[in-house]
Symmetry: none
Subunit: 406 residues, 2 copies
């Protein structure tokens, strides 16, 4: 029996409630003997909770591997992230709040600039000089008005930031894998859509016609006169959290990508009226009686980490600390506070460092630690290695697993 | 995606330098409350470095499994050692410094003593009374002069210690698996070469003819008058460190087996003019600008461990400690000091005990420990379980991995 089969067999429903707080990018490092944000932040409530919780550290994918948001979250949701790949097109679509259906093809598009040379196109600028987002919006509007279908396939264009946009194809028999058309280097012709698998014949034909039609629409322009297609993908076939763990889960998140990731595993996404942690917690209280698993996503720890803004990151932790008593009043049976990956401010980006975990339930071995810090977590007693292993513990501590084997 | 596919996809080249120091058999145990060699040795430089490094313990193969040098090293080089088997013939050949080509067959031979009974051979002594090495050398010379080819297959004989020697077969279509001819017990006839797989037909025929010819050459002798063949094998098909991790690695080692193991994974082997650690470090400095991964092998910790010579092992650690400042002057971006397996002096042999690891880079959580000892390592914060997982961390800490997934 593999892990998923075991959980399918031994998980049961009850009314105990699990709250998973993901402070995106929370983990930090003490670069050259400095302090981490968790060591700097004034967070009396988190520290008190740490003392009666189990602390631990988890690896999202593999030791040394820095995860994107997709694998980082899948792992926290209880899925082995190397088993389910989320294509770039799909992730971009989720990030723009596009509602994908299971067989849709999502493609990350870049507006680019090409020139004609001896009847051939050559890519002059792969990002069309990073055109302003407003121009992108106009171009997507234009393309949407001119190209609605290719054969029996519906086509839609959704603008992202600067030169990035998303194409969604909806139709029958769009199976298979097709290569990116981005040549990755300027001075080369854009690649034709090339099928990687045999079942990609129709998809390849549609993409060829689509790129030809897009070129027709844009060809009179001096720049941003063509597109390059990347990450041509569909939603991975992920069993839902209901199917694997018998959970009735919901997601409270502000940013579209995290709502989208939650939808991929079958969570109900709750709309939040506002952007602060308090707004999210208000919503959590409102829906507390309706679900048994709550994923609460806090974005700004990661955003400030990416900006290298250490004090900004500290403030988000302090902001969360102030609302923690409100959360505790809900009396979750299991409360886990962790992150999808570390984003050390000093590195200005995601990193491979293990994620600190605070795991609270009445059935833990209390750490007795005086604070919630990476170091205390690295030396903690929570006996898990990978993020996806937390799910088993969350289910167990809330009485949602029966005995395995007689 | 499996682990190797992931690293192939996310590894990149840069000019950061990784130094992996393998103190062979370093790990020790505190037998009946005694002290380990790492606890006894006076090693101020290692201890100071331990304080600003992450400490940890790694398992080469599986908990409880004592590795040979092959699996122990493969694991440190980033390969799951259960995935790639190095046959005994190949390992012996590497140990004798024989340059194997990819399709060569390497065989560990034992000179043995047989008698004829009713026209049948019976093994009287499987090791021919452990003949002196000098006699072995003479016998191999004799065989080499009499047997150069079997059909179109080149044959060579290389003496090892006592009764042990290596046969290499070089020719076409020598595929498949053939059983050992050693009956494992005296009083039984030597086994015929028996094919295990269908493609081993030619190899089996060659081996039958070879053993018959060897018997012809030796049959007038009273002892050491035949041979038994074991570990009939070829180089495992291991992807190189360049292929998997995009590294340009080199090996600095004195003993042939370690040079051979390094070659198996595509390292460039650097010749050392001398046998001491200082000689090795001199060479390290010389080639420092030419590579991005350096495997530095120190043999004597293991040799003294195997001899049960505790103070000898202590002295090797102290010798290394004295040259450590020279190594640190090179400013490696990542420095890892560990072993391929433990060789506790009290056990006089390899053991299953986890290997102590000192992992230094600017991006670690410093241990603050006052010394580099097994105990501090077992309680350390380096979040890995198996030796082969160190590679991901070495690559990450030197900026050689991009993000996994979007």
């Amino acid at each position: 029996m593999n892990r998923e089969e075991i959980f399918k067999e031994i998980s049961i429903k009850n009314d105990k409630k699990i709250l998973l707080v993901v402070m995106d990018g929370l983990g930090d490092i003490p670069y050259y003997h400095g302090k981490t944000v968790l060591e700097i932040a004034h967070k009396p409530n988190l520290d008190a909770l740490a003392g009666i919780s189990e602390l631990g550290s988890v690896i999202p994918v593999l030791p040394g591997v820095t995860p994107g948001s997709g694998p980082g979250h899948l792992s926290l949701f209880g899925y082995e992230p190397t088993k389910y790949e989320i294509g770039r097109g799909v992730l971009e679509a989720l990030g723009l709040g596009i509602d994908l259906e299971p067989l849709d093809i999502a493609i990350r598009g870049n507006f680019c600039t090409v020139k004609e040379e001896n009847g051939k196109l050559i890519v002059v600028d792969r990002r069309a000089g990073r055109i302003p987002t407003e121009e992108n919006v106009e171009l997507c509007k234009l393309l949407s008005s001119k190209i609605k279908c290719i054969e029996d396939v519906e086509v839609s264009f959704t603008p992202g930031m600067e030169h990035r946009f998303v194409i969604v194809l909806r139709g029958e028999n769009l199976g298979g894998i097709v290569e990116d058309t981005d040549p990755q280097k300027e001075g080369l012709p854009p690649k034709d859509p090339i099928p990687v698998t045999e079942d990609a014949k129709k998809l390849t034909e549609i993409l060829k016609k689509l790129t030809a039609e897009i070129r027709e629409v844009l060809k009179s322009r001096k720049y941003a006169n063509f597109v390059l297609l990347r990450g041509i993908s569909r939603i991975p076939n992920i069993p839902s959290m209901e199917e694997l763990f018998k959970l009735n889960p919901c997601a409270i998140a502000v940013y579209p990508m995290y709502k989208g990731l939650a939808k991929l595993v079958g969570m109900k996404v709750i709309d939040v009226n506002g952007e602060t942690i308090s707004h999210e917690v208000e919503k959590l209280k409102e829906v507390w009686n309706e679900f048994d698993f709550f994923y609460l996503h806090i974005k700004k720890t990661d955003s400030y980490g990416e900006d290298g803004n250490l004090s900004g990151k500290v403030k988000v932790i302090e902001e969360f600390d102030r609302v923690l008593p409100e959360i505790l009043k809900l009396k979750p049976d299991v409360l886990v506070i962790t992150c999808d990956h570390s984003t050390p401010a000093i590195l200005k980006g995601h990193s491979w460092h293990p994620c600190p975990v605070l795991f609270y339930s009445p059935y833990v071995f209390p750490s007795g630690a005086d604070s919630f810090t990476e170091k205390n977590c690295l030396r903690g007693t929570l006996k898990v290695t990978y993020s996806y292993e937390l799910m088993g513990l969350m289910l167990a501590h809330s009485g949602k697993l029966i005995k395995f084997g007689a």
